[in-house]
Symmetry: C2
Subunit: 389 residues, 2 copies
């Protein structure tokens, strides 16, 4: 009989699992979340366990709006904020409300591969917009918009991760942010800004969100407690124009079930009210910075000279370009045999490409393992170049 798993993360013995872009469970603040859960139930009692207000409970909306304003230096009205069940759930709801199967959407390529799976379940046609070292390619966006327009079609939205992108680690530059927003406004294009890595910067704060540069209504920005607190809470938020928030609030799903995750929203509210979040993010930054450095050091030491990568300034990932002729998909079983895993680049790319790339995650593993993982990966690529595999 199969033993059912409890968590999503499955680690194989003897494999350094750099494929897994998950927060390290050892970094989850279990004791403080227990305190927050106790406080939430103690101060609000049944209120924390009843059907929640559709937009999310006032208990969380108010301190979250204040926290976002303090962190990001821009006031957010509570009416522009919706509590979600995490980014995945938020994307799923937006697809239900904004799209119909067969609709075209523009997606950054490469971009978070599992968002693409959610879009596919909604029957959407994915139109790629190429990214390069500076992030989403503005000319590529203009060209994709023009192609659609010539076919008499429009895109329901553009999905991208402009800040510490999964999988590339790259942030869109200020100039490109402005250009992307201008193009979107000119074309009436809605932008879904997946912004889950914003707080996890290791060298310098990232550029302002696209949302801050755009007219109200252009950008829907998705945030999450998954990376900065705990993914098992299934809790996030989105900021958007009040009309879009109202559209979500008035959906059948929220009318029927109430707010998307009422009890865990109360737990997160208590965690915020206890003043624990900023210090925790500081600790996460310190831990993940060390891990990023360990991986970058390992890559510098062990990867063959004709491999390339960009030092990620935040997030969970490093995106490695292999030497010409190297296919990361073909390399994966060999690497796993040698005790190291990654995600092949093609998984993140819509409409082909990405074969020369692979994604390494440094969020889950301690420094020594990351260094050893880089060593094993370097050896595998070396052997491949020498034609011994």
């Amino acid at each position: 009989m199969t033993v059912l798993p409890d968590i999503q993360l499955v680690l194989r013995p003897n494999v350094i699992e750099m494929r897994l872009g998950s927060p390290d469970p050892a970094l989850l603040p279990v004791g403080d979340i227990a305190r927050a859960a106790e406080l939430a139930l103690c101060r609000d009692g049944p209120q924390a366990l009843a059907y929640g207000a559709e937009q999310g409970p006032r208990r969380l909306l108010e301190p979250l709006a204040a926290w976002l304003a303090q962190r990001e230096g821009r006031a957010i009205a509570p009416a522009e904020l919706l509590i979600t069940g995490g980014v995945s759930q938020g994307l799923d709801l937006l697809c239900t409300l904004l799209t119909r199967p067969g609709d075209a959407i523009l997606v950054q390529s490469p971009v978070y591969h599992l968002a693409l799976r959610i879009f596919a379940d909604h029957g959407l046609e994915l139109v790629p917009v190429a990214s390069e070292d500076g992030g989403l390619c503005v000319d590529g966006l203009a060209a994709s918009l023009e192609t659609l327009a010539r076919a008499g079609r429009t895109s329901q939205f553009l999905y991208l991760v402009p800040t510490f992108c999964n999988p590339t680690g790259i942030s869109l530059t200020d100039e490109r942010r402005a250009a992307v927003v201008r193009l979107a406004e000119a074309h009436g294009l809605t932008i879904l800004e997946d912004d889950v890595y914003r707080e996890l910067w290791y060298d310098a704060p990232p550029p302002a969100p696209l949302q801050d540069l755009a007219a109200a209504g252009t950008v829907i920005r998705l945030g999450s407690f998954s990376k900065i607190l705990a993914p098992g809470l299934r809790l996030g938020w989105l900021t958007a124009a009040t009309g879009m928030v109202a559209r979500c609030v008035n959906s059948g799903l929220l009318d029927s079930g109430g707010g998307l995750n009422h009890f865990t929203a109360h737990v997160a509210a208590a965690y915020l009210d206890l003043g624990l979040l900023d210090g925790h993010i500081e600790r996460l930054r310190a831990a993940y910075r060390q891990r990023r450095d360990a991986l970058l050091d390992g890559l510098a030491r062990f990867m063959p000279a004709d491999c390339r990568w960009i030092a990620s300034g935040g997030g969970f990932f490093v995106w490695v370009q292999l030497p010409e002729g190297c296919d990361s998909g073909a390399l994966l079983p060999i690497a796993e045999q040698a005790g190291v895993s990654f995600v092949p680049g093609a998984r993140f790319c819509t409409g082909g490409g990405g074969e020369r790339y692979l994604r390494l995650a440094f969020s889950l593993l301690p420094e020594a393992e990351l260094a050893e993982g880089a060593r094993r990966l370097g050896a595998v690529v070396d052997r491949k170049i020498l034609g011994n595999d």
Copy 2:
């Protein structure tokens, strides 16, 4: 500035809110859920807060399968069980995976009105199947299936609440259950059995689920912790053939976000493991039985002679038929003026009808208020008949 609400329930002063079909927050086991949350975090630590296994955590799947088997006298393999974020979320996911906009689905009429809103968000065409005193009308189902077939169409599924139906309180008889299942099997029709009131019976246990009578794969049954534990946990389950469970597990939403509500699933698991659920359900039954009796007594005392209702054997609702010529939608503002509310019957009916009916909920209010609510309603209907309104 508007004050944001914390919970969905909004009670107006001086109105006896019999429109609200919500569990009474005063009956939520706050202290025991706090114990369960503490135990969940104490015994599993980060495991309870990481990305959860897509199907739901083993921690909950195993005791829930055992609990269902013990309560319902039928073994359920864990592979036939999926943890959901409540029935609303489960319905939403099934619509995404099983339907496309424009598809026809069969819906019991009258039936839970907010499920209809979820279906509408997915662009589905609702084809009503009439219900009567014994529950869903079998001839009506046959006729609807035939109408669709003649138009060269099929229905993606039939949605119904066969046990202590919302809004009617009626349970489908054993004979009709067998007939509905036979018809569905003959037509290859999938049944979505919304079974959230099963445990809340006040006189005698309800008939076996449709799922128990059907070949594997015919019925997807949705259960929930909302009515028997706490709606704010946003937690439920579905039982289905292993292939259907696998289809949900392999969806983009679950691949991306992990199990649907991992932390609250751990809390519910701890609550089950502490052996608290059966006793709590016993207490709920006793409380809701008294409320049901108080409402039925009040209706018998105060409603005009030409009103009709069926004594509900379980669930949260009584469905009242008004005298001929009385329209419950027109009556509502008058009733609210007189300090009592209800939901007009037409809201639950697809394709028209229901104007002579109204739904009263007895779950939320104490006995004295229910009796007074019946008195106020009776007086309003009386005045209406006499033509004084």
